[in-house]
Symmetry: C2
Subunit: 294 residues, 2 copies
Amino acid sequence: MLKNYLKEKREFIDNSIKEYLEELKYPPVIAEGMKYAVLNGGKRLRPILLLMTLELLGEDEEKGIPAAVAIEMIHSYSLVHDDLPALDDDDYRRGKLTTHKKYGEAQGILIGDALLTHAFNVITSENQKVASDKIVDIVRLTSQYAGVNGMIGGQMVDIESEGKNIDLPVLQYIHTHKTGKMITLPVEIACIIAGAEAKKKEKLIEYSELIGLAFQIKDDILDIEGDFEKIGKPVGSDTDLEKSTYPSIFGMKKTKEILAEKITAAKEIICSEFQSEKVKLFTDLADYIQNREK
Amino acid sequence: MLKNYLKEKREFIDNSIKEYLEELKYPPVIAEGMKYAVLNGGKRLRPILLLMTLELLGEDEEKGIPAAVAIEMIHSYSLVHDDLPALDDDDYRRGKLTTHKKYGEAQGILIGDALLTHAFNVITSENQKVASDKIVDIVRLTSQYAGVNGMIGGQMVDIESEGKNIDLPVLQYIHTHKTGKMITLPVEIACIIAGAEAKKKEKLIEYSELIGLAFQIKDDILDIEGDFEKIGKPVGSDTDLEKSTYPSIFGMKKTKEILAEKITAAKEIICSEFQSEKVKLFTDLADYIQNREK
C-alpha cells in the first residue's frame, strides 16, 4: 500500500515541479541546470510528508502544492551546494554527475542560488487557495528552518567537525538541523495550512522529528553497509571525510537498536493522537525509513 | 543636502541591519560572517531608495524597514558569491578581505546562502504594520528580481560573456538584470507598501531603471579611471577578465555622453510626475550617481 502511494505521489510531485520550472528558459544553463538538479529521481520524502499530513488533517491537498514544490527546490539546492569542491567535493549523486560536474563550478553555485531564490517565488505564487497571512507564516518558517538556525547551521557544524572527534550533543545538533528541520518543515506547513489544533500539531512535529533523526541514522548506516548501485554514490564517503556518525560513536549494533527505538516511538506517537485509517501511511512510512536500501 | 541625507539614512539602515542580525549567534562562523559581509561600509543605495520612495509617496518609512534590510542582505550575498574563486575570484572588496578570503571558501558559500535565506525571514518578520497580502507580493517580487529572471540571470550571462565580444543587447541584458532589477526592486516595493497609483508607479520605475543603468555605466568607468584608495578594489578587473563594458564597446568619450543622457532623462521623468520639494532628493541622487568617485 505505502509503496504504491509513494510512487503515485512521487509522480504527482515531479509533475508539479516540472510545471513550475517549465516557464524558465533564460539563461539556458541556469534554467536547464535547475531542472537537472531537481528532477533527479529523488524520493520526494519532504513534499510527500506535506501532502500526507494535509490528508490526515482532512485538508485539500492542492493547497499544499506550492510549498511542497518549494521545499524540494530548497532540498535540491542544498545538495548542489554540498556537492561543490569546497564542501563535500562529490562527483556523483543518485548515479548521475553532480550539478557542478555537469555544468561547471560557477554555474553550480548560481544554479543552487537560483533554486533557493525561486523556491520563495513558488511559495508566493499567485491565485492560491491559501490565505495571505498563512503564506507569510510559511515563508517565515521555511526561511528559518532552511537558514542559519536550521539546515545551513547544521551543514556548517558538520563541515567544521570533519576530522574531529565530536561528542553526541554536537552530532545531534548536526542531525536535527542539517536533516531534521527540513523534515519537520513540511509537516508544520501542513499544520499551518490546515489550521491544525495545538495537540495534533505537537504530535505531528514529534513524529517528524523522530523519523527525521531515524532517516539520518539510516543514512549513516547505508554509508557503511549500502550498495553503490542502489544508493547511487560511493560507499564510505563519511569515513573518507572523517565524519563522526552514529556508527562511529556507538558502533553498528547499538546504532541499529537506536534506529529501531526511534521508529517505534514515532509510530506510537502518531497512533496516540490519530485513529483514522490514514494513520497507517505514517506507520508504514516509519517502517520504510528503517528498512530502505537507498 | 543629499550628502547629509545619505549619511543619516546609511546610519539608520546600518543600525536596522544590526538589529536584525544581532540575535544570530550559532554557528559562530556563519553568524559572524553574515555580519562581516553585510556591515562593510556599503553605500546602502538600494534600501535608501526604498525609504526615499516611501517618503515621496507620503507613506510611513517604518513600514519599509524589513524589506530594506532584506534587500541589502540579498545584495550582500550576491557580492559574497560573486567574489568566490569559481566566479570573479576577488580578494578585496571595499578595501577589506572578501568573505571567503576571511572565513574560507566553504564558509563563504554557506554565509552567502544564509544571507539570502535570512532575507526572506526578515521580510516576513512578525508584528509588521504592512498587510499580509502586500508582504506576499513583496516576497514574490523580491524572489523574481533576485532570481533566474533577474539578478542571477544577469550574473550568469556576465560570466559566460567573459573573453567574448558581445553585442549591445547582451550587454544591456547583463546590466538591466545583474544590477538593474535590484535597484528597481526597492522602488517597486515602496509602491506596493504605499499603494501607489499606476502612473506614479510607472514613472518611479522608469526613474529607477535609468539610474540603475547609469550606476552600472559609472561602475564600468570607475573600473578604468577609478582610484583604488577610493573604490577599495583593484582598478582594471573588467579588462583582466576580458569583460565587455560600455567603454569597451563605445569608447570612454561616448560612454560619458550616454551616462549624462541617462541622468538627464531620469531627472526629467521624476520631475514630470512629482512636484513636491522631496523630489529634489531624487534629482540630487541622479547627479550623485553620475559624479561619484566610488
